[in-house]
Amino acid sequence: MKQVLVKADAERPMGNVFAAARGRLPGAGPVPQIRERAFENYERTGLPHRRMEDWKYTDLRALIGEVLPLAPRPDAEALVRAKVSVKQVAADQAVKLVLVDGIFAPELSDLSDLENEVVVRSLREVLENSATGAMAGLVLSTTSDPAISLNAAMATDGLVITVADGNALERPIQIVHVATGLSVSTFTRCYLQLGKGAHAAIVESFVPAERASGYQANDAIIALVGDEASLSYIRVAAAASDAVNISSAIIAVGARAKLDLFSMTCSGSISRYQEFITLAGEGTKLSANGVNLIRDRLHADTTIVVDHAMPHCTSREKFRAVVDDCGRSVFQGRIIVRPAARNTDATLTTRALLLSDQGEVDNKPELEILADDVTCGHGATSGALDDTLVFYLRARGLPEKDAQMLLIKAFIGESIEEITSENLRDFVTAQAEHWLQAGR
């Protein structure tokens, strides 16, 4: 009885939120209907809760209770604050595309630096052009996951990025999401299409502006990666200490492609990053890695589902978590090997470093193997810093804090070093060091 009440409480405001937002949600032709269906999908469960296996460690119904009203369009003052934040997270050499409070901000973006090989449109533009109705359906596709359905229903803007067959981008594209608001929600959705043999590096950064507080960001990126294409996707998420970030990546890959994925969550009251990768062609190589850096009372959940649907694919996952204070890190890694996926080679390791007695780590590796002739493995460990190593470093002159830092850096470096681009590796390392320094 009580549970039903909780559900009703959680949903009533949301219904209002959708109804209230509807007039502001872009979309011509079939779009309003698609949104309606997406919202119905969402409403079947409401906010994800612990009785849903995939969300058992991150019970949004208990943790956030309700979805906040949609953020207003950012005004000039908000854009000024956003500009400062964009500068702080700008990756070297990257072409920046900025979204502020869920709305594309061309004035903060480097549109003129975009290479000829890429086409970028705002989601709003695509959805409002009825000639692209089919595109709209693709962009707003949903899954059974309520967070993604809610995102499809509520997305206010985002980016639609297309790289045609055979094109290679020289510079990374950095999508920067800035939150400036107080107690509001934002919904962004990006769509990336890499043609056959295309090459691109996408960096996605989430950052709060000064004074931003208590907001909820819900983002989704949908990527279609063609045969023989190569994609690096690096995501670094920071949020205000009382803010929520729910992000989903849905990636489908063709044959003989190469995927280099990395995600780092380093702040925010509650974070959930879920990555669903389908290896839909033969002979593709996937490297999916990540780091959670958690302190205070923060909660970060990284969930990666790798679906081997076709033969001869390789997937490697290395996940690391560093947990201090009363933080809680969740890692769920599921590898599915479909009956057709012969000669699959898939491994996953997840390791957590606990820096305090109160921190909590939940590691859930899962293998679901439905094919014969596969090589699959997983490993999970968690523990404190090795005192012997700390003493060795101290005996060489490093103060205790410095010794610990060096070891923590080396620990998360095991995952960061998997990023193939040196430039992006340095970018991620710098962000991680920023987190480490902040805790001193």
């Binding site: 190593l389 005996a395 060489r396 205790e400 060096l406």
Partner: protein, 259 residues
């Protein structure tokens, strides 16, 4: 600089009536030791006599309880200092089992350690080219290949390589007191020769060394000025280098009986 001409020379390391326990078990039981600059002391003794514990306590390893006594280094109370402060003051312990640190290259580790020590002494940090040159020189003299210092600290190193890496650090940090805890364990004859010559090259009138070993073999390569026999947590006998020979002939049993 103070001058002690005509006076009793102050010991570099002075240990007085040291008592150390681990979990209610007393391991060092009233140990005295004076080590002067320029001297090489050998500490020999059977397993469990407290040799390694002594080296750990001087370096400041956590987990030991000093229940009584003093350890003075250049007249300062070492027991009041953190391990890194002791290192910055010039105490160096070459580990019996050097640890592997994956993800930290030897080069980065050396730079971090050297600069931390310099910072603690209010000295300027080493500039990179000068540092690299110095590391290459010392590594070369110890037959340490350049690619080894670009790898994770001791990761995948053989026993001999790990020990050479300890001597490399010792040479770079230029400590006033070197404690070598069973530096000969796990070394073949050739590796022992390289390590010993690296250590001998660091002998100087300003520096003292404490060489802890089970075997006289090491002391043929590193000839000590003074040999101590340790048993049951105490120095039972001290003498010249000939004491090592005597031990080889008669064993440790005579000292264990005396204790």
């Amino acid at each position: 600089m103070m001058h002690f001409r005509g006076q009793i020379r102050m010991a570099l390391l002075e240990i007085r009536d040291l008592h150390v326990g681990v979990e209610d078990r007393e391991i060092i039981r009233g140990l005295h030791l004076s080590v002067h600059a320029g001297e090489v002391h050998a500490i020999m003794g059977p397993n469990g006599s407290g040799k390694s514990t002594l080296s750990h306590v001087i370096a400041g390893k956590p987990g030991y309880e000093v229940t009584d006594g003093q350890i003075l280094f250049k007249g300062e109370d070492l027991l009041e200092m953190e391990p890194d402060e002791r290192a910055a003051k010039g105490v160096f312990l070459a580990f019996q089992y050097p640890v592997e640190i994956p993800g930290v290259t030897t080069m980065n580790f050396l730079r971090a350690a050297l600069n931390a020590r310099r910072k603690a002494r209010n000295q300027q940090e080493f500039s990179t080219p000068a540092f690299l040159k110095r590391v290459r020189e010392v590594a070369g003299s110890l037959n340490i290949p350049q690619d080894m210092i670009k790898r994770g600290v001791n990761v995948g190193f053989s026993g001999g390589e790990k020990k050479r890496n300890e001597i490399l650090q010792m040479a770079l940090f230029e400590p006033g007191l070197c404690i070598l805890d069973e530096i000969d364990s796990g070394l073949d004859i050739d590796a022992l020769r390289i390590v010993a010559s690296g250590i001998n090259a660091l002998r100087s009138p300003e520096r003292a060394m404490i060489v802890i070993t089970h075997y006289r073999r090491l002391l043929e390569h590193i000839v000590p000025d003074i040999v101590h026999v340790m048993s049951k947590g105490r120095v039972m006998k001290s003498g010249g280098k000939e004491l090592a020979l005597e031990l080889e002939a008669c064993g440790y049993a005579q000292f264990e009986d005396a204790a």
